[in-house]
Symmetry: C2
Subunit: 217 residues, 2 copies
Amino acid sequence: MATLEDIKYYRSFEPGQTVVWSGDRMDFVASVVSGIATLTQTMEDGRRQMVGLLLPSDFVGRPGRIGAAYDVVAVTPIVMCCFRKKPFEDLMEKTPHIAHRLLEMTLDELDAAREWMLVLGRKTAREKIASLLAILARRDAILHNTTGRRRLSFDLPLTREAMADYLGLTLETVSRQISALKKDGVITLEGKRHVTVPDMGRLLEEAGDDSDGGFLI
Amino acid sequence: MATLEDIKYYRSFEPGQTVVWSGDRMDFVASVVSGIATLTQTMEDGRRQMVGLLLPSDFVGRPGRIGAAYDVVAVTPIVMCCFRKKPFEDLMEKTPHIAHRLLEMTLDELDAAREWMLVLGRKTAREKIASLLAILARRDAILHNTTGRRRLSFDLPLTREAMADYLGLTLETVSRQISALKKDGVITLEGKRHVTVPDMGRLLEEAGDDSDGGFLI
DNA sequence: AAACCCGGTTGATCCATGTCAAGGCGGCGG
DNA sequence: CCGCCGCCTTGACATGGATCAACCGGGTTT
């Protein structure tokens, strides 16, 4: 019997390259091996909203669906591990624990999306920026096994404009709020793309999170 | 072997009653039989964001999770069909098509959540109201098998405040924008809670949707 | 090295929505 | 029937973030 190993193949993309266009037929599912991509929705008049970040280990695509619901764009060089949809679905039919695992991942994504709805609907610009930095710091910490530390340092993978699209702001506001957080000592910057958070607790306070944002795992 | 029929039972709630509190242990999963409930997240300082609407046929609860992630509150009298979690999970283990169906429903919810992120992050107050009305009209049309009609009429199940919490607005802004849509002939009101949409296409334009919002099924 | 471009910063001003406050309407209990 | 209470509307004013515009710095092209 075929296994996941048998039907997988790899694809890579350069920064800025669109992996899938919203509405396109998408005949594969994939998981991110390395690099970062964004999921974005666009309105006719050009307004854009990022609805998800794809980081290593994240899954893209929906078994049982034909069209993609949003654009997927690489923001760094990215490698994805792909499975043609049909064999993947057949395999899923036969091995229930794959479906099971997929359900779990989808529920996680749903939780993340709903948490982001709170950010978009109710947080101030400063809180939005702090929330985003906290998430990026956390994902980076998990990737490098440095969870639990108070002080963290990581690269910002997104341009100011991409951050704005994620947060429902303009790039000017993003720039100003980052400057403000820097002035207030919540973060320090080396260059424009490397962030150090001297005190993660402080950042989470600024994010307005009642929880620890999953930090103290 | 036990079936879904064997392990189900019913619970009902009155308007305003909280079905589950965020963080509570939730030892059942359920689907809505009749009535409406909301999923909301709350910040320490009281800011609230609705992250989902539960309408008849919707599913609540996550197999494999213990704590609820948000408050579930009844807004009308509601009847839910419940399954204790353990037997449900056992059953899911044995009957893959339940897991399969659940995955599909979760993917739908994820799509809806992401569409809502666009509403929250990028739409104006007027567009937000129009979007919400369009969704409610659609759900109502599906419920009463009146899809495809141009003219629709339905009851608003939500208070202005609940609408505000859904849309990331204040209740005053909601009130003003509803008045504005009425003045402009996009909707008419009989009383404060019954809406007629003379031209669904017009409403969808006002919502800024590039698609038909799933109307022309 | 000059010219240019891209991403970012900063300033000045504008405006959509929030905030605060007053009142209206309809239903319900006394 | 009256008065109260929840829900809603409307007005006046305040403000956070958008918009418009100038400029910066570093990398790349000519």
